[in-house]
């Protein structure tokens, strides 16, 4: 189901170049300046990392195909992201074979970046250095002469100002020239692989050619005072965590509240489209399938898009400004105690919106063990698809006049998800990795910068789009299958009237005279109901009946589908939403168990359902993404069964426990 873009090997001689450099060198910004609107993300078969790709703007001369590679700290024991870049650099990658490299070098970190550049220069491909962050040099009281640097290294060096785009045209021109007439030899390619010697040579060259001059002798050791000042607040002994929590609260507040009107709009839009399609084209089975199966399936994905866009926008903003690395440093200690890593912070944060981008974000975690453990607990993060489910169940649990209680419980659920996932991570890391070798943090805290809007907007857009592609396919397919299961049944099957005796407007579909094997059925008689009824022995200990079972199955498409399925199984006419919610709650409160007068939704069974949704991995898209990211079906399936069975067992124990103590 992967949208595979065929890798572009030059058609009609468009040359390909790759952007490489250390993290925080300003590659993304440069990429944006060079390619403008032609940027897109490309999936290359065999690699999970999505690369951005684009053509250099026509105004810069003959276009080049440009691919942005993930930043590399050190080619030595690389993370998954770093490994890809190293493969391309060393020519070992099968598909990405560029004609030349643009080495992005941060002028304020020149020694460290030239050290990395030497690794790239050794590979023998034509190289042009793009010098970024010239404006940061001012802050540390230095100036750098690009011409002298270029003479010293024997390589073309173009300073780039990402704000104005100055230097971009020059860069493309020089690239063409360098590809046609490669520079004979340069200093960097002869640099030792051994870091101590390499650094010594780099400093010697910089000093001999007087590349850097100090403009402010007061600023010793290139200390960036602005960054030091901000860090002294942001990482302050007492203020550090309060600031951290305020930033996180603002992030979540925007994810949930700013997104709400957009989500409502999208939701209504899809409902409207679905209803109008039926009205316009009649309610033949095919049209109904399109309207209810497909369009509403797409709607189920699209409704979370605003949240995802806001999440990615704010995360990119925090990343670009430099704060995200500080956040990771703040929580590294508690996380490493649990066997995780400071870099697990970003995936866990994303997990509260959606597990899918969260799982993808784990690629930056250097050690495989910590990465797997992070992926392992991500399904427990209370994702936004659980929110509508909790909202419905809590509304059923608490009468409208004590809605504040629901709010408190909901907050508690969020904290509990953090607490319990920590517990599980801690247990697993202590049991499974008893003699673990500790990993390395060694994380750069980049200088604080004013964020650049254009690259952020682009990154937000491309990351959100990649989410849509990855999550969208499975959700739409599963919701289409579920629609078929809910609308068709065996033709010869007679309904057992007692099973549906209590559903309000139950109508048994007319079974056609010649009894074909499979016919269009009402829900009560459908395959979904069959499955639900077959499952009933499992459901009764949870205190619920087959109708809730149908909801639980359909929730595997996406958890929030549970709510709309409840509306279908309890026969709530779908007109305006408020009435529907009211009607659903009323129906749910009066629904009784088969062959009995006891209610389906009692405090005990509702609490059981909340616990079930809390733990259970009710999301096949997550399973698909985990399988792709870990390249292992067994990890994905073990995770699916572990959380789902755990959720079920805990739900049953709690329901039975509550009943034993007299709470129905």
């Amino acid at each position: 189901m992967r949208a595979v873009a065929t890798p572009k090997q030059p058609e009609s001689k468009t040359l390909t170049v790759c952007l490489v450099g250390m993290p925080n060198a300003g590659k993304t910004t440069l990429m944006n300046v060079l390619t403008g609107s032609s940027l897109h993300t490309a999936n290359y078969p065999g690699v999970t990392v999505t690369l951005s790709e684009g053509k250099s703007k026509a105004s810069f001369g003959e276009p080049l195909n440009i691919i942005d590679l993930p930043g590399v700290n050190s080619p030595f024991s690389p993370s998954q992201e770093e490994e890809l870049s190293c493969q391309v650099l060393t020519g070992k990658h099968d598909l990405v074979k560029p004609h030349a490299f643009i080495l992005v070098v941060d002028a304020s970190q020149i020694e460290r970046h030239l050290k990395f550049a030497s690794f790239a220069a050794r590979q023998g491909k034509p190289i042009v250095i793009a010098l970024t962050m010239m404006d940061l040099l001012e802050r540390v009281g230095q100036t750098l002469d690009p011409q002298k640097l270029s003479q010293a290294l024997g390589l073309p060096i173009i300073p780039i100002d990402p704000r104005t785009g100055d230097g971009a045209a020059e860069l493309i021109k020089v690239l063409h020239k360098t590809i046609n007439q490669p520079t004979k030899s340069n200093v960097l390619e002869n640099l030792s692989d051994e870091p101590i010697e390499a650094y010594n040579v780099i400093r010697k060259i910089l000093n001999e050619h007087k590349v850097i001059t100090s403009t402010n002798p007061q600023l010793a050791r290139q200390q960036d005072n602005l960054t030091s000042h901000i860090d002294s607040f942001v990482l302050h002994k007492f203020f550090g965590f309060p600031i951290f929590f305020i930033i996180l609260s603002l992030l979540f507040a925007s994810i949930f509240w700013v997104a709400q009107p957009f989500m409502d709009g999208i939701d209504n839009g899809f409902k409207w489209a679905s209803e109008n399609l039926v009205q316009l084209l009649g309610d033949s089975i095919l049209i109904k399938f399109l309207a209810e199966g497909i369009i509403q399936g797409v709607g189920a994905v699209a409704v979370f898009f605003p949240q995802i866009v806001i999440l990615f926008f704010l995360m990119t903003l925090l990343e670009d400004s430099g704060y995200l690395a500080r956040g990771a440093a703040l929580v590294d200690r508690p996380l490493s105690f649990l066997g995780l890593h400071g870099r697990s912070f970003v995936p866990m944060l994303s997990g509260f919106a959606c597990a899918i981008p969260a799982v993808m974000a784990t690629r930056a975690i250097p050690s495989k063990r910590e990465r797997l453990l992070t992926i392992g607990i991500l399904p427990l993060m209370s994702c936004s698809a659980r929110l509508p489910v909790y909202a419905l169940l809590l509304a059923a649990l608490f009468p409208a006049e004590s809605a504040w209680k629901a709010g408190i419980v909901l907050t508690a659920i969020y904290f509990a998800s953090l607490l319990i996932s920590s517990l599980i991570a801690g247990l697993v890391s202590r049991l499974a990795y008893r003699r673990r070798s500790l990993s390395l943090l060694a994380m750069e805290l980049p200088a604080y910068r004013i964020p650049q809007w254009k690259p952020i907007a682009y990154l937000t857009w491309s990351r959100s789009g990649s989410y849509l592609k990855k999550a969208g396919g499975p959700i739409i397919i599963i919701s289409a299958i579920l629609w078929l299961l809910a609308n068709f049944g065996f033709g010869s099957q007679q309904t057992n009237p007692t099973n549906i005796a209590n559903s309000a407007n139950s109508t048994i579909s007319a079974v056609s005279a010649n009894k074909p094997l499979i016919v269009k059925s009402e829900l009560d008689n459908s395959f979904a109901a069959q499955i639900g009824k077959t499952m009933e022995p499992l459901l009764l200990p949870m205190g619920v009946d087959w109708r809730v079972g149908v909801g639980l199955i359909s929730a595997f498409a996406a958890r929030e589908v549970f709510v709309s399925t409840m509306a279908i199984v309890f026969h709530v006419p779908g007109e305006d939403e408020e009435a529907q919610q009211e009607g659903l709650l009323k129906q749910m409160r009066s629904a009784t168990m088969p062959n009995s007068t006891s209610h389906v939704f009692t405090p005990a069974s509702i609490i059981g359902l909340i616990i079930y949704f809390f733990f259970s991995l009710q999301c096949l898209s997550t399973v698909a993404v985990v399988r792709r990211e870990t390249n292992s079906w067994s990890i994905a399936l073990v995770q699916l069964f572990f959380y789902t069975v755990l959720g079920y067992l805990l739900a049953v124990s709690v329901v039975q426990g509550l009943r034993a103590t007299g709470i129905a």
Binding site: N73, S74, R221, Q223, S232, F241, R333, L441, A442
Partner: protein, 72 residues
Amino acid sequence: MRLTDLPNNEWHAIERLDGPEEDCRRLLDLGLTPGEEVAIVQIVPLGDPLVVSIRGTRLALRRREASWICVQ
């Protein structure tokens, strides 16, 4: 003397790195090479990691990692 024995903002030249080979190799790559001046510039609220300044950049190093850095 180890970097972690020093108070904040006290600059010393690195003498050598004394830790697991592979990890030290990565630290060297990041610029923590002998002869270079280094200092702890800040300690993150829970006492770990430390913020270490080297070659004009700031690195978050766990206390354990910083203790491999022997200074003159």
